[in-house]
Symmetry: D2
C-alpha cells in the first residue's frame, strides 16, 4: 500500500475529491481476456449509491461509471474484454450542490480529519470533506467489480451485524434475509429494532456506529503468504483503510482472546478435496494462508462525525469555536460500507490469487496427492 494505491499484481490507484469534477481509479495488472462492461461494474455501484433510503445521505448521485481504457471488443472477442493494460474508471460528480462553505472552511469538525489534513498539508479542499469524503469509496467499489471478474468461483458477501448497541443474533443469521431490508441485516427480528433506532437518531440529528461482516466462500487453500504478505494482514489493512473503520477481526477475532486452545483449534477430518474443518474459528486463514474454508472478517465503523448537536472545537486561527455539522449525511455510515467492505475483500483476494499463481504456478497440494492442482 502506498498513499493512494493498494495491491501488488492487482493494483488499484484511486483519485478524486467530493466536489471536484470527477473521481475514479486505475486498475493495473488485471488479467487479459475477461469480459468487462460498464453495466457489470454499475451493478455494484448501484448497491453503494447514496439516496436510496431515508437512512442514507440524500445526496443524489447517479454514480455512472465510464471505462476509459483497458478493454477492447471486436468480432473475435467474447464481447468487450480486458486487454491486460490499465483499466481507467471514472465517475463524474453531478450533485455538487452549491452551498456556502464559509462556516466550515476554517473550522475543524470534531471526529473528521479536518485538523489532521490541515496539520499535514496546510491546505485542504474542505468542500464536502474533499479527499476525506466517503465518495472516494465509489472508486473502490468500481475496482472491486473488476476484482470479482478475476475471482471465478469465489463468492463475497457482506452484512451489517450491529447498529449502535443492537447486535444481530448469530443464531438467526440468514444471508438471504440481507436482501430483504435496507440494512443488509441478516436477522429478520432485528430489522424493526434498527429501524426505530435509526429513526430516533435521524430525528435527533445524531448518528450511530455499526459492525459489518464479510464472508468469501470458494477461496481455495494456498492464497496469501507469510510473513508480512499474510492474507489476513492485507485484509486488515484494506478494511481499516475504509472511512470510519476502527477495528478489524478475522474469524473469531477478539473473542479468541477468551478461548482455550481446545476451543480455538479447528479440528480436521479427511475430505474429498482436502481436509474438512469441523469449525472455523480461524476465519479461513492460518499462518496468513487460506485454508479453503470461508474467509471471514468483521469491521467496526464509528458513527458519522457530522451531527447537529454543537460540539466544541478550534479553527485554523486557533480560536475556540462551537460547531454543528449541517448537510446531507448518513446517520450510520456502516450501512453503506457493506459494498465497500465486499469490494476491498475482492481486491485483496484477486491480488493474493495472482501473486500465488506467480510464485507457485497456482493451485494447491491436497493430502494424499503429490501434484499441485
Amino acid at each position: 500500500m502506498s498513499h493512494n494505491s493498494f495491491g501488488h499484481l492487482f493494483r488499484v490507484t484511486t483519485w478524486g475529491e467530493s466536489h471536484g469534477p470527477a473521481l475514479g481509479c486505475v486498475v493495473d495488472g488485471c488479467p487479459p481476456g475477461l469480459t468487462l462492461t460498464e453495466a457489470e461494474i454499475q451493478v455494484w455501484l448501484d448497491k453503494r449509491r447514496p439516496g436510496q433510503g431515508k437512512f442514507v445521505t440524500q445526496r443524489q448521485e447517479p454514480d455512472a461509471v465510464k471505462i476509459l481504457s483497458g478493454v477492447f471488443a471486436d468480432e473475435r472477442t467474447a464481447g468487450q474484454v480486458t486487454t491486460g493494460t490499465p483499466i481507467s474508471l471514472m465517475i463524474e460528480n453531478v450533485d455538487q450542490r452549491s452551498r456556502d462553505y464559509s462556516e466550515i472552511a476554517r473550522a475543524f469538525r470534531p471526529g473528521h480529519a479536518d485538523y489532521a489534513y490541515f496539520a499535514k498539508y496546510g491546505v485542504r479542499d474542505y468542500r464536502g470533506g474533499g479527499r476525506q469524503s466517503a465518495r472516494e469509496t465509489a472508486a473502490r467499489v468500481a475496482a472491486g467489480a473488476v476484482a470479482r471478474k478475476i475471482l471465478e468461483g469465489v463468492s463475497i458477501r457482506g452484512a451489517v451485524v450491529q447498529i449502535g448497541p443492537h447486535a444481530a443474533d448469530p443464531a438467526r443469521f440468514d444471508w438471504d434475509e440481507t436482501l430483504n431490508n435496507p440494512f443488509w441485516c441478516p436477522d429478520a427480528t432485528m430489522v424493526s429494532v434498527w429501524e426505530q433506532h435509526l429513526e430516533k437518531i435521524r430525528k435527533a440529528g445524531s448518528s450511530t456506529g455499526a459492525v459489518v461482516c464479510v464472508e468469501a466462500t470458494g477461496v481455495p487453500a494456498g492464497w496469501g503468504a507469510p510473513i508480512y504478505g499474510k492474507l489476513d494482514a492485507e485484509l486488515a489493512a484494506a478494511l481499516m483503510s475504509i472511512n470510519a473503520s476502527k477495528g478489524v477481526e478475522i474469524g473469531a477475532g477478539f473473542a479468541a482472546a477468551a478461548f482455550s486452545g481446545e476451543e480455538n483449534a479447528d479440528e480436521m477430518r479427511p475430505g474429498n478435496d482436502g481436509p474438512v474443518f469441523l469449525s472455523n474459528k480461524a476465519g479461513g486463514v492460518l499462518g496468513g494462508i487460506s485454508t479453503g474454508q470461508a474467509v471471514t472478517a468483521r469491521v467496526a465503523f464509528k458513527p458519522t462525525s457530522s451531527i447537529l448537536s454543537p460540539r466544541q472545537s478550534v479553527n485554523e486561527d486557533g480560536e475556540a469555536i462551537e460547531l454543528r455539522t449541517k448537510g446531507r449525511h448518513d446517520p450510520c455510515v456502516g450501512i453503506r460500507a457493506v459494498p465497500v467492505v465486499e469490494a476491498m475483500t475482492a481486491c485483496v483476494l484477486a491480488d493474493a490469487f495472482l501473486r500465488h499463481r506467480g510464485q507457485t504456478g497456482g493451485g494447491a497440494f491436497s493430502p494424499g496427492s503429490s501434484v499441485r492442482r
Copy 2:
C-alpha cells in the same frame, strides 16, 4: 508489504526458520548518523526472550543479536552510528534441541499453519514450525529497536489487558505496574488472577488467548496519509501480521460501533501546541493521519495452538489422525507478544515519519500560524 518485507522508506525484510542456523532481518532506509550498538538492540530482545518465567516457553535462547552491516565508528563519529546503508541483523539459533519430528513431520497440527503451508508450497520445514515459528518475531523486535532510534521524542509501550476471560480494569490501568509483574499487566489486582489462571492452564496442557494494548505518545500531528497509506491501516496490517493475531482495534475500536456521534467525536480546545483534545476515542488518528494525541491500538491473540489434549486432524496422506502437541510452548503467546507489538508499532511510525518528511519536508501546521514547524 510484500511477502517478507514491510515498510516503504523504512523497510524491514526478515528471514529465518525456527531450526535453521540463524534468523534475522535487513533494515533498509534508516537515516544516517544515529548511534546504534548491539547492546541497544539487545535490551529489547531480552524483553521478548523466552525462558524467563514458567508461563513462557522453556526454550533457552540467548537471542544475541549481531550487527553485520550498516554501522560505522571512527574517532570522528559519536560512537558507532548508522551510515544510511542496510543494517543486517542476525540472531543465531542455539537451542535447537535435538528431537524426533517423525510424529508431526507428516501431520497437520490443528490451529497451526501446517496444512496451509503444505497446500501452498508442497514442502515445509516442520521442525519447530519452521518459518511459522514465533521465533521470527525476534527479528521484528530487533528491527523495532532500530526504528525507536529514529523516533526521537516518541515513547511506545505495551501491556497485556486480558488473558483468557479475565480483563484488566481500565480504571486501574497503571503503566508503572506493567513493570512489576511477568505479564506486563497494568492492573495490580489482576496479577494473581492471571497467575492462577495460567497455572491451571499450564497444568492442564492447555492454552489461552490474550489482548495486548499499545500506546505511542509524542507522535506529532501529520504522520500517515490518505487513503491506503493511512497510519491506522498500516498499523492494522503490521499488528495483524504478528503470529496468532486475530483482531486489531484503533482507539475505541469495536466499542465505537455502539457509540452515538456525540460520544465518539473528540472535542477540541485551543492549546499552545495545536488543539487540545478532550477525549481520545479516535486513538490519535483521523482520516489516517496522526492528530498529536497518543496513538492507541489493541490486538487480540488467539491461544497457542499447541496443546496436550488430543485433537482430530489429517496427515499429508489424507488419513484421519489424532494429534497432541508436545514440546516447549507458551501457554499464552500474548504475553511474549508485547515487545513484538511495540516493535511493529515503532516500525510503522518510523516509516510514516520518513514518508511524511519526504512529501512535505516534515513538521506540521499549527492553528494560528502560517508556517510549518
Copy 3:
C-alpha cells in the same frame, strides 16, 4: 516500477490507448502547496504535440489537459495549489480518424509490439497501436510538468544530437540554438543536413533513428541512493521505458569503455559550495548519488517501425504475409521524444529529491562544514 506506474514517493500511473476516449495519469505523492494550473502543464504538452511540422505525424490532437483532482483554490491560497492528494490528469482523444483496420487487425507489423502483445495477452487493441502507441507519452509529459514544479532551482532541457548517421558536432553545441529549429538541434550547421535527410526519408516512406541528450542543472549533491535506487539506474529505467528507446548512457557512457582511469576520473578543486569538478565524465552521478554537477544522459531511439516498403511478416493465423504500414507517422520519433525524455528525467529527479528528504531530512554536507544544509 510496476507495470504502469513509476516512482516511489512521487509516483506516476499512466493509462489509456491511442484510440480510446482518453488517456491520462494519476500523480501521487506530490507535495502540497505548489501552484499548479492546466495552463502550466499545457506548455509542455504543446511542446510534444504532433502536427507541428512536416517531419512529425500529421495526426491533429489538441492534447488539452484537464486536472480532475488534487488541486484547490480559495481566497487564502496562492492561486490554485496542490493539496498533497492524487492529481488526476486527463487528455481526451479527439482525432481518432475513422479508418479501416482490417489490414492490420490480424497482422504483426515488424518492429512493432503487435506480436509481443498477442503472445502475452491473446487480445490487443490494434487501433493505432493501442497501448503501445506513442500517444501514451503525452501522459508522461503531463506528469513531468508536475514534477518540474517540485524541482525548484533545477533546469532540465533536451536536444536531438543525432538523426540517422548525421551527428551534431559537440564543439558547436549551443542550447539556445535548439529553440531555433524544429529538431531541437543544438548545432546550427546541422539543421539543413537533417532537413534534407528527413525530406528524403519522408518521400521514400522510410524512417530514421536518432539520439537525444538531456541535461539537468541545479541538482544538488546527495540525491539518489545506493545500490538499486541509484539515480542513474532509475534514470536508465525511465528513459529505456520510452517507446522506441534502445540505449541509455550516463555521462561519458559507452565512450568511457575506451578511457583510461586518468581520462575518466573527474578531478576536484575546492569551491565555495562544495567541490568544483574539472570535468564531467561521470554525468553528475557517482555511486548512484548526485554530485552537484549537471546530470547528463543520452538516449538512442530506433527508427519508426511504420514504413511504406513492404516487409515480410506473419499474421495471427500463422500465415506468411507482406505488410506495409500506412497512416500518419513520424519519420523520426526521436524528435518528438525530446519533451518526453525531459519529463521522465524530471519525474526521476522529483522522486529522488523526496526520497532523499525522507531519509536524511534533505540538504547535503559540504566539505569544511559539520552541518547539513
Copy 4:
C-alpha cells in the same frame, strides 16, 4: 527498485560493506520445490571471485556462501529444496587486510563515490569503499544463482567485447572461445592484444574501461510488460546499477539511431513455434515484452577509478589535495563484471517470468492457435 532491493515477485535485498564481518542478500519470492545447495551457488561465485589472475584484484577471498534459511531437506524431498520462504545467503569477509586508512579517511578519491556518500550521509565507511565496494556484487551473483534455478530452459551467458579501445570483432564472435581465456573474450585473435594492453596498464598503475555483452536464449515470448515494467527498462535499471556501469544498450542499441526503418525492423516468417525472425535488431524485446528471440544487451564499464597517478582532489575539510590510490585493484573492472551482468539478467528474467505467470497464468499464444501454451 528501492534502495537496496530489486525485483517484485522475485525480490533481492543485498547488504554489507567491504570490510564489515560479512555481506549477503535475502532472496524473497522464490518458488518452492527447486533444488538448491550451497555448491550450486558457489559455482557462480567462483566465476566472479577475485584473485584469479594478474589482471584482477589480488584480494584473496574464498567467497564461500552459506544458506541460512529458505531450504529444507528430508527423505521425501529431492535433496535440499527451496521452501518458498526467504533465502538468506551470507558470505563472510575474510581477507580484510589490515591497513592504514588515514590517507583516504578524509579524502574524496576522484571517480569514486566518496564525495557523493559524504554529501548525502555525512558519515561513511571508507574502508575499502564500504558499501560502494564491488564486493557487494558477490551478493548479486549469489542471488543470480537462485534466479537461474527458476529459469528452466533459459541459458544466460556474458562476454567482454571491448577493453579500452580494442573491440572484439563481431564476425569472429565465438561463445566457446570465452571459456579459453581469462577475459571472457569471444574473439581468439583479440586475446593477446588485450593481454598486452592490460599488462601495460597494470605496470603504469593505470586502468581501462570495457564493454560486456550478455545474451539470454530460451526466453519465451510474453515476459515483461508495458509500460514501465518493460523487460528492457528493468534490464536497463539492473545493469546500470552495477558498479562502474555507464551505459546500457538493448539489441542494436545506439547503432539503431543510424538505421533506417527498413534496416531496423526484424522481419518474420512462420515457424513451428511462433514466428521465426530474420534478424534480431530488437534484442528480443518489443514494446517491453519478450518475443522469443534471444534477449541481448551490452553494458559499458568505466575504468577503475583507483589509479597510481596522483589526481587533484578535495578532502572533508575542503582543502585541495593530491591523491593516488594504492591498494589491490582490478585494472579493468569490466572483466569481473561478466558474472554480475549475467546474474542481474537472470534476476530480471526470473522476476518477469513470475509476474507474467501471475497476471496471465503463464505461457504464450502462438499464431494459428487459440490457446495459451
